[in-house]
Amino acid sequence: MIRIAAVGDTHFGADSAGTLRPHLDALDAHADLFLLAGDLTRVGTEHEAAVLARELAGVSVPTVAVLGNHDFHSNEVGAVHRVLADAGITVLEGGTRTVQADGTTVGVAGVKGFGGGFAGACGSDFGEAEMKSFIQHTKCVADSLRDALDSLRTDVRVALMHYAPIKDTLSGERLEIFPFLGSYLLGEAVDAVGADLVVHGHAHAGTESGVTPGGIHVRNVAQPVIRHSYRLYCLDGNGETGPQCADPG
């Protein structure tokens, strides 16, 4: 049994110090891996990343993150990445991280993702250069996700992203903004090579649970959706018995 804690959209700012740390005390005892699904900061400054890094100091389980659109806003993404990496957090963009826990190997493939919409109602790589650039970026990110996920040879494979790969977990959001919340290309990439779980954020008014067209579990862990410091998911790995999926409370 592998236990994965996950949260996205923490939107840390100078006023956020002390808001998360008290809820992480139980994390080491109840999780094997901690995933951060982007929009970690309010407007993507180095200072905001440092506030979050200090908050996560002392978390001993491997912590793996992707960045979100907010983390890019102040054009300090390099510094944000560095501050988090210096704090021991693995920040993925087309890469992977493998963790071993209780005889089970878990691989995480992570990308920010991007928008574009969902099959039947999505943008096309056509027309103005700006529109082509928009959709080409999503295609590039989706290709990167597929390749990273496909490279994993672990018992459990997790796809981590900020933008949504399916419409299910957007339920509650306004239909008009779906193309800015995610892209079917991300879901298609996951279905092409397979995974055991997809974790994303970004859709604050969405729904936690969904499934890809290929039948892979998807969870939207945006903090306004889960309304907790994190959510805990337990997955069977290689069938060996291990620590139970205990309620942190």
Binding site: H11, G13, H23, H204, G249
Partner: protein, 89 residues
């Protein structure tokens, strides 16, 4: 800060400009606040992570639309309860 509203301006345009201000004002950085203008009131809803964020948003909107009654229903996410685990099968 400059006031946004012009006499008889349709509320749809005001809502768009308020949301743009909430995204770009240094005190904001918020894209997910719902803004509705009805009658003489501006109604805010959604959730943020700290009380200071909630108050800052109200300040920004109050400066932009001083002639409107401000109704701030933005909630602060309560993380005091530990989450129940889910087994994925």
């Amino acid at each position: 800060m400059t006031h946004l509203s012009e006499p008889d301006e349709p509320p749809q345009y005001l809502v768009a400009r308020v949301k743009d201000a909430l995204a770009n004002d240094p005190r904001g950085g918020e894209l997910d606040i719902r803004v509705k203008i009805a009658g003489t009131g501006v109604f805010l809803s959604g959730s943020v992570s700290t009380p200071a964020r909630r108050d800052a948003i109200a300040t920004v909107v109050g400066e932009l639309l001083p002639e409107f009654d401000l109704h701030n229903s933005i909630s602060v996410t309560d993380m005091s309860e530990d989450p129940a685990p889910e087994r994925i099968e």
